[in-house]
Amino acid sequence: MTMTLTRTATARPHSTRRRLSRLITNLWLVAALVLMTVMIASQRPQLLDPGNMVAILKSFSIMVMMILGLTWVIAAGKIDVSFMQVAALSNMLCAWGLSQGWGWWPAIAAGLAAGLAVGLLNGWLVAVMRLPALIVTISTASLCASLAAALGKGTVIRIATPGPLASLLEPHFGDAVPLIMLPVLALAALAWFVQERLTMGRYIYAMAQNEAAVRSVGVPVVGLTLVLFVFSGVCAALAGIILAENLASGQPMIGGPYLINGLTVVLLGGMMVHVGKPNILGTLTATLFIGVLFSGAALLGLPDYQRQIIQGALLLSGLVVAMLAARHHGERRKGG
């Protein structure tokens, strides 16, 4: 409701320039994505080959799955740096269960249960025991990484039989789109609906503004925080299971690079649609943006470490732009 009010308030001067500037803040990342894709494709047409598209969209689906929950945790003004190690743990647990002859469904259930358990632990420590979210999740992250490595005694566990998700990873629709994208997008659409249309979405953003105030008007902040961390854990665990299927193995070190990737995407995505606030649609766009950027960088022959520098710089400049935008926005609101 608050949203509608502010929207009509800013739309009232109804000049085309205002409308245009709002359109730009909403969709500039989409434009940047298209522009970048065209630029890279003009240099390296292989970018748009079906084989490459499948690879990009597959890692897009896995990435979105992993950080769907993280988006809301950050939107609520908290932080979770354990998501990538939760994925690594569920990935290893799934592979380890299969190597013990559990069969696929129990192995998947075990992976999800691990995500649920870590999410509950994070949520309980942050929401109920009021410990700082960074200290809690940095600890549970290295706990999960430790457990993941211990399951395979420090090495990779191979998976011999393809599981129930294998068919979802096959390319369809002109050999360019993996089927897994559809359920992931459906889940993201559901999350978008919750965020935009249900009170829960309002509460998440309100929490980031002033937790004490939100608590005192009777919003169940403790329960909501718990739910957010559990959702983040379960999403990451699901991504870990998809990774197990995709790589046909459990890899204890798989988590590492996802930390900075995930944070970059969530914060970059937070710079469109609702500027300064991480949101689902922004996360989707930013994930695709990073995916195309990395694929293009690899095709252009940039080594790994240069990608890492580019990404750090992107994250940093994203933060600066978001800061400036928020300040600009605030001043304009004060003025009107």
Binding site: S146, G154, P303, Q308
Partner: protein, 334 residues
Amino acid sequence: MSGFKDIMRQSARGLGFLALVIVVGAALALAEPRFLSPASLNGIARHMAANGLAALGLTFVVIVRRFDLSIPGVAAFAGMSMGAVIAAGAPLWVAIAAGIAIGAAIGLVSGVAISRFGLPDIVTTIAVGSICAGMAFLYTGGRSIFQNFFQVGITDLNDARVLGLGVSLWILLAIYAVAWFVMQRTRTGVAFYATGENPVAAHFSGIATRRYIALAYVLCAICTVLAVLLILAESGNAETNKGANLMMPAYAGVFLGAAILGGTSVLATLGGILLITMLLDGFALMGVPYYYSDGMISLILLAGVLAFSDSARNWLNSFAMVRAARHAASGEKG
């Protein structure tokens, strides 16, 4: 009156901490008799020097109520930079000066971005750390640097002894002594604590809070550089992953020390890092696989922070009150 109470409480905590160190040491010595051998104690002193320096840097940042996650990245880049300077044939002090200058510059960038421009600390330092970790590959593309390391004398930092103790331990003690003096006995230290506890009040008391926050990041990066310098001295070469294991022990040392000794301070960090290093080296001696050690540290950290948190205390108090009330009620009935 309350001052006397505070002193009593502090010394009780201090005694409790000493008892904990003795219990942990005894348990490790029982489980693995070699734990108390001179070689093992030397190892603990050396590892404590590196871990302790990184933790000291983090202490400043935590005192101004911020976090720094760029420690591994800064360590990687500064370590490779110092390695490159040594390999180019420069004397050791030039390499150390270059490392400190690089660290200070990186810390200044993070610190100014966070304090002056108000960027969020966690994400900013992750980004800076990522850029630094990538830049560590600029010199050799990721290969180890070892040229000139033995001629230049960097290994003396690890091997040489003064009055029976390793040089690295003396370095640690000297830097901690200076840090303790500045933080506990000067206006600068008071300004750091004031900035952390109440930035608005500190601002109106004439403290340049932004400057102290930026300074905390600069000090943290410089301490990280010194820590990685000791690691280079121990291994005799520079690699891009040299600082990867500095961050978890540093966080555990700072927060465990603060939990046990009742507040973040230079001495609390020293105590915390002593405990953590004892445990880490003990586990390594007992042949515990490397992948368990991080997990155990984080478990200890979580348990420590949880056990000494306000909520746990309130919870215990309310529990005790309920029991007392029940006791009283049953007494009335009887």
